[in-house]
Symmetry: C2
Subunit: 496 residues, 2 copies
């Protein structure tokens, strides 16, 4: 293991933390870094460093890092920008090399003083061989260690990791993912990337046993070639989903103002996604929704042929358009399959070809079982989407049948029917709070059962398509590799 | 006024309705057409027609249309498909020519019997000069007349009209629009379009004084040339927003199964939108969000230059990308304007160029006023988006400041600041029900004040861009027309 990976191993398994600049009283509006670490219940040794304080929140304060009884796993620097160089020198003197600089006000300001300070701390860090996360960032969040630097993180761990150049996004994305039942092994907000960059975190997470899916929010990358080769090696083993920001002109300018990074051109990044096998996300939501399918679906698809089973004719037409736009194939159901479905689905007011639009089927779970199994038995069908219009189902019996359908799906169709992958979407347009309440209830039930569920068919179709596309192209790649005389030694450099 | 328009005038101002096939008891699962009309409180004369009943829901029933004491403004046919021809003949015999056929099971089934029945009723309708809405549809909804054929419509009227080939969409779209404070003059679900087609309703609504914005869900159109010329004439006076379904191959097939229509190709429709000035919508939500800007913003924009004022660096970058993708321009703020903003917005941790990312500004409404006015005073700025990250604002004081900001915006910035159009977006990712609750509260407040508000910046940017694009291209068209020697007599044929 190289020096950087060793440092990261220590940081992510942290048992001792010093906060340089921990204030005597909490700042107005939020608990501050020190307050957040305490509030979340970090179990390791916590050292406030503040020469002007005897103690901080009842814990003995220390005048500087050199006075601490140990070198710590992580030093967090939270002093005004002009005092950061001095704090870094204190790190070097005291033998502390793992540093998170929270402070902002460096090159991202685009102003002379910020750029000068950036150069100064870069020089100090290089000279002192420091491993620096930041500056201008939230640092790391490790649920299993009860460690976080922000308000209200989840204490629950899970198989996702998130590498984020934005501190706000690291909080927003984890919160949103938590809401749909996705939890994290490690979260990193690394801001201006003074020494440690996305590629370092990526290399570490590639070999991290707690991480199965890697998500990233990138503004700029210092070593594009390294990112390319790393992602190419990791993608076949762990899906890498990337939200690349700053692909527009205005976005590029915003990136420069935010983390002082170079965003890179759109064409270049399109090529990157194509050749590495990474999945591209358009937004935080999109990234979470893609991760949701990877988290739950086990049976790899054999192709893109998808059948939507729902109710409502206009909805069926919209579903067909949405699936096609998302890149899914929607061939009409085989004549024999249609014939088998006919006893359950009368011709008038229903559609049977694909999408299947069949209100009566949702009023009886035995019928629904029969319909789903019949469709799944058609060898030309690869995947299925069940689309629930909650408003309509609600009208029949105030939600009783909706819950029965959810029970049925979570018991009998968790993730697949007869081996064919299945996802669920629901929607409610009505201004009746009881309906989204039922929606949330069935959503929790389905997610708990491991069934990806979405609040719009567009998202369901898009996520399913990305997931299926990933597996199909990885299969193609694997076949191509098998055919080569000298197979590439895969992923050896990232697996230690 | 021609015969068709006269018929529509009578139908939309209906004071007498007959329901052929009103059942003695309500069907299971929903109140039925007759039940819905009663439940909504239609004030006109209502005649159940059912030879097997003495009375329906306490109202005297009639054996057939000929036995009624009057010819009615609208006959609704809700009998099984094979009995529809007989019911239509009863219309002709009794002198009733305005008909809504609710029944499904005609050409949309794609089956022999349905196609035969379709031909039969087409022949009867043509011969009897009937004005038929449907079959296979929900018919009309006129809030001012307390008339509707479905469950839980809104009794409130407003300036939108909706022409929909799908019955489900007519319910879903109006419900969703109601949720964001948009209400309707007339709603039409017209299904298979036996005689009356979208163009007939469009022509009527063009001259309807209660209608200011026309929305449409189209699957197929019989007379494309007529639609083109009508929309071209109407668009400069009333925005026409169209969700065209079936533009993909699978969508085209679904359209055929749903309303038996021919969807037409994507290329053709792209040309249609470009040349008519109609606005294209991607989904029901998109259509409602576009209508929302048209409903509220009064000051026409002078260009596409947009400034986003929010908080959070990653969010600012995403905002820049979202605006650019939506077609808005985001030039950096003028140096002089940046200088004026500097006293309010310190360099460290904030962005000032555009987007403006400034947490402190949202903690003080006086500062927010100053910042908004300074930006609005920059002549290069045409429009503004205020982007609120509720999770973050909530942390500071559990929502007190959020409400203050909403009060400020709804009192002082309703729709514009110093004449520059303004929209608001908010977002919450946190799994804390108190935050979306506050979100809904401020949303109602802002909408009530006439300020378009969105739950994602993507939607805000997209809707603002469509609205601005419409006005800018209409302006260009008008200038071009002015330059012509013989100005086209505009819209004269549709305004009676």
């Amino acid at each position: 293991m190289n020096d950087t990976l060793e440092a990261l191993e220590r940081m992510f398994n942290l048992n001792s933390v010093a906060v340089v600049g921990a204030p005597r009283t909490r700042p107005p509006g939020w608990p501050g870094i020190f307050g957040c670490i305490r509030d979340f219940g970090f179990q390791g040794r916590l050292y406030p460093v503040n020469p002007a304080a005897e103690e901080v929140e009842g814990i003995k304060a220390w005048p500087n890092l050199a006075s601490l009884p140990e070198t710590v796993d992580l030093v967090i620097i939270s002093v005004p920008a002009p005092a950061v160089p001095e704090a870094l020198r204190d790190c070097i003197t005291s033998g502390n090399r793992n540093v998170h600089i929270f402070t902002a006000g460096f090159k991202e300001t685009g102003e002379e003083e910020g750029i000068r300070l950036h150069r100064e701390i870069e020089e100090i860090a290089r000279h002192g061989k420091l491993h620096v996360i930041g500056p201008n960032c939230m640092g790391i969040h490790v649920p299993s260690k009860r460690f976080a630097t922000w308000v209200n993180p989840s204490p629950r761990s899970g198989p996702l990791a998130f590498i984020s150049q934005s501190g706000g996004h690291s909080q927003d994305f984890t919160a949103f993912a938590n809401r749909i039942g996705l939890y994290f092994s490690k979260v990193i907000s690394y801001g201006n990337a003074l020494t440690l960059d996305s590629t370092d975190f990526l290399e570490y997470l590639a070999a991290d046993r707690e991480t199965e899916i890697i998500t990233m929010y990138l503004e700029g990358v210092k070593d594009g070639r390294k990112l390319h080769s790393l992602v190419s090696e990791i993608a076949p083993l762990k899906p890498v989903i990337i939200l690349k920001a700053g692909l527009t002109e205005a976005g590029t300018r915003a990136v420069a103002s935010h983390t002082g990074s170079l965003a890179g051109g759109e064409k270049l990044w399109r090529g990157f996604f194509r050749s590495t096998g990474a999945l591209s996300a358009e937004s935080l939501e999109d990234m979470a929704f893609q991760a949701l399918v990877f988290r739950h679906l086990k049976n790899e698809p054999e192709g893109l042929n998808t059948v939507v089973i729902g109710h409502g004719g206009g909805i069926a037409v919209s579903a067909a358009d949405a699936c096609s736009k998302a890149g899914l194939a929607m061939p009409p159901l085989d004549g024999a399959t249609q014939k088998k479905l006919r006893p359950w689905i009368p011709a008038g007011g229903n559609i049977i070809r694909n999408p299947v639009d069949a209100v009566p089927v949702f009023r009886d779970t035995d019928m629904l079982r029969g319909v789903l199994q019949t469709i799944a038995d058609d060898p030309a069908v690869h995947m299925m989407i069940v689309s629930l219009s909650l408003d309509w189902l609600f009208d029949t019996d105030q939600g009783i049948q909706v819950e029965r359908v959810a029970d049925f799906l979570s018991e009998e169709a968790r993730g697949s029917v007869r081996g064919k992958p299945l996802v669920v979407s629901w929607r409610s347009y009505r201004n009746d709070p009881r309906i989204p309440e039922i929606g949330q209830k069935i959503e929790s039930k389905l997610l708990e059962a491991g069934l990806p569920v979405y609040r719009s068919l567009d998202w369901a179709a898009r996520s399913l398509s990305r997931w299926a596309g990933y597996h199909l192209s990885q299969k193609k790649r694997a076949e191509w590799e098998k055919g080569r005389e000298e197979p590439r030694r895969r992923a050896c450099s990232v697996y230690r």
